[in-house]
Symmetry: C2
Subunit: 511 residues, 2 copies
């Protein structure tokens, strides 16, 4: 009955529970490693308004043991030399903790990849980075798991080759490339769809190159950092904001610390909390802080969060990407108005495509994106699956079974509510679920119009076949029987609304 208690570091936690970060098998861990590093690379270019060029190289190191060497090079803003060890060899350390849209969210992914490499091969990772195109810092790093600290094996400062600015990460890991190849290739293909400004190059361990050139020459507006929105602020956050403010009065604290809070709103919230606008924000008691938060919670009249920091894929980009890959017969794309959940703005985009090279399915093929990254695993746990499967009755839209039907969903937000650290499935927040439902249903209604037209055209074509085939025969037969000259049926067909053009186009026997 002796029970020992102890604390563990975050890196130890993720070392022991790497399944929850998606590093569960050699196949999936390779996919996760590539994904995490590519997403860091895209973010590093985006914040600097740089057209991203990302090179991913996978080389077999000890093929019999399944050990590979992975290298990811970008042309982003780089990481300052003194920050490199912590940024890459400390779990929960990063540059992504602000209120803005980014692909990475947990300050975890890059380090997890290196940690996975370390525990499977016991080799240090090599990180090179230059922030100015002149000096380059090169580190060999390992992670001290117990202490959650970097162990610097070597470090060097030298001129950056060819004026290169960016970051290069290189490490060995146990991997199953055969098992993960389809997902990895899908990952690059889908990432290219929603990042048409990026150049992506993947060279695999058999020397095959997969190259995605940019189809757009201008980088998108980078997402900006914003103040927190008052909805969704809890006591913990409020306490921090109060301790950090330089405002002299509660009134000015309210208008300067939150987005979309004007003088009138601030006064109303403060007074509902039983406080005075002129009081110093530093002097609130525990109970007063709680009262202020409760007053904000029940206020109900705040304006929606500011969507300007968001950077959605865009209807044209989504459409171009889908056409390029599936060449569908029908495609409808919807971008919803900005909405919000728990103080975080978000924008939903959705598309429904039909025909072309979309595979037949009893339900539909689903393609999900979040903050411009494709989500390829755990589809059935995602809110988009729930909506497309449960909230939308495809038979209402005249969709047959099976059908070449594909559904695309994209969500961008300052905070995507992932269900897992592996960033694969989005939680069913009611606000997001509603927007997705509206978007997909709108696409569905348009699909119905298209399918109805097809149906009508097919019915007309069938009728046409009958008329155009039998009418001349009947005419001929009748003429012979009556021993008169065969009449011209064209005027008759014309009366029925059938042109010569139609007859030529009509399929089937009469075609």
């Amino acid at each position: 009955m002796e029970v020992s208690f102890k604390a563990i570091s975050p890196s130890e936690f993720f070392y022991k529970n790497r399944d929850i970060a998606g590093f569960s098998s050699p196949a999936r861990s390779l996919y996760m490693s590539i994904r995490e590093l590519v997403e860091n690379a895209l973010d590093a270019a985006e914040v600097g308004r740089i057209l991203p060029e990302v090179l991913v190289e996978l080389a077999a190191e000890e093929e019999d043991k399944g050990v590979y060497r992975l290298r990811v090079v970008d042309n982003g803003i780089g990481v300052p030399g003194d920050k490199i060890p912590s940024a890459f060899a400390t779990v929960l350390y990063g540059s992504k903790y602000g209120f803005k849209q980014s692909r990475g969210t947990f300050g975890l992914g890059g380090t997890m990849a290196l940690l996975y490499g370390q525990i499977t091969t016991n080799k240090p990772a090599k990180v090179s980075s230059s922030t100015d195109g002149k000096t380059m810092h090169v580190y060999e790093l390992m992670i001290d798991v117990v202490e959650n600290k970097p162990r610097i094996i070597s470090s060097e400062k030298k001129p950056s080759p060819n004026g290169w600015r960016g970051t290069a990460v290189e490490f060995s890991l146990e991997a199953d490339y055969t098992g993960s190849r389809p997902k990895i290739l899908d990952y690059f293909k889908h990432t290219a769809i929603v990042n048409p400004h990026a150049t992506l190059t993947f060279i695999d361990s058999r020397g095959r190159m997969y190259h995605y050139p940019p189809s757009v020459e201008k980088p998108p507006e980078p997402p900006t950092e914003t103040l927190p929105h008052p909805v969704g602020v809890d006591v913990e956050m409020m306490t921090r904001l109060l301790s950090e403010t330089s405002s002299k009065t509660l009134q000015s604290f309210m208008t300067s610390s939150f987005q979309k809070v004007g003088d009138k709103t601030a006064r109303e919230v403060i007074e509902t909390a039983g406080l005075k606008p002129a009081v110093s924000p530093k002097k609130l008691s525990h109970e007063q802080v709680t009262a202020l938060v409760n007053s904000m919670k029940t206020y109900g009249k705040f304006r929606s969060p500011d969507p300007t920091p968001l950077s959605p894929v865009g209807k044209e980009f989504l459409e171009a990407g889908i056409r390029k890959i599936f060449n569908p017969d029908f495609l409808h794309v919807v971008q919803r108005e900005p909405s919000s959940y728990g103080g975080h703005p978000f924008i939903v985009e959705a598309a429904v495509a039909y025909g072309g090279s979309i595979p037949l399915s009893e339900t539909f093929s689903l393609y999900r994106f979040a903050n411009k990254i494709p989500l390829l695993y755990d589809e059935r746990a995602d809110v988009a699956w729930k909506v497309a499967e449960e909230k939308v009755d495809w038979s209402n839209y005249k969709v047959p079974k099976p059908a070449p039907l594909a559904v695309f969903t994209s969500i961008c937000s300052t905070k995507i509510p992932y269900k897992t650290v592996g960033k694969e499935a989005i939680a069913d927040r009611p606000e997001i679920e509603r927007e997705l439902t509206m978007a997909i249903r709108e696409c569905g209604r348009n699909l119905k119009l298209y399918l109805s037209r097809i149906e009508k055209r097919e019915a007309a074509a069938k009728r046409l076949t009958l008329y155009s085939k039998y009418l001349p025969m009947i005419a001929e037969f009748s003429a012979k029987a009556a021993d008169v000259k065969k009449p011209d049926v064209k005027p008759l067909l014309k009366k029925l609304g059938i042109t010569q053009e139609d007859i030529k186009k009509a399929p089937g026997e009469g075609g």
Copy 2:
């Protein structure tokens, strides 16, 4: 282009990303809070071989704001006074980091519940505990999120009332009881099925009591802690074991640090690594450690992990629980032999039930358990769903659609490979998938026999209906026509193998 870097504490990480621990909405957070505290309570009784008695009380505190007070009291071994603050107000601190089966796994759940309560209500939690039935320690605690440290609001030491030993946790939280009630009641019901030795009492905010008395008087053998199995040991773990050992030689290190490693195995592994058995384990170089781990990885002849620390539900318990709740017409329960994945032993149990009060479904109803806790969310992301849906073709077993079919799966292991920190879905490790497939298919084959018998019986009954209805009529008609006395058809029916008994039992018109 100024980018700021910073580190965050584990509690800050989970504060910002509570979705990944399952605390996503007021409904689900209440469910998670109850669940985490009940599971801690059951574990605290199990390690002390105590028949657990767990009382859960939910009271409305400020009904209009959706604020509730939750209290969970157990009769477990208690937490020592000096450990209470860290155990309940530090994230990633706990007693569950060893190699043994337990319900909790992340050292996170209880603290997450209190953290959620704190950020939604700003009130301290109250924790009382006694380890000896004499003295009781009572703390009021809050969590310092930035530092991941307890803030002790008050502490007191007093005599334990009525010699009570155990732990009581009480805190306020924002919750949606209406929304989570069905899941919470299911949770208690299903927990009772697989913990028939426990007394569970839930008193809800409307004063309704749900009481599950024990149906077994003996506590199960508590799971024991074991040495790590050599398969699945990575460089990180090896380095730690080497630094902690008191063995003088590598040979004795190997046999004393791992389970199922005898002298011969140890020597073979050491020699394959190019090392000497007599070398001091403290003097291995980095490369030698890697070589040793690689040798263990490729050895391939280790015996399976020791399953004795595992505590499965048991066939009788599972059967009794299922019968009690569903009273099915058919039930087959399978317990597989112990198996292992990545060095962790596990045992799969499965059951298939048909008829009774099982609801009709186009597929099946799935009930999942892991280390004696029910899993109620994210079913479709679970390996059990994958197996029952994709690997088993129910039409092979003559299951009609819809059918009153229920599938039960239970896995116990020293480490359940959960996909999420919220412990709701199990990853599809190939070894677990295989065992589940075998178990469910075995149940399926038995179900087929049952359904075939039913089918035969129904065909017979139909035939019977015809014979027993028409034969007497034909006899009577023929008798009248021939003007003879109506013959006795009983001998004829008997010849056909139909007894009077059968005729009485036969359904339909002839019944």
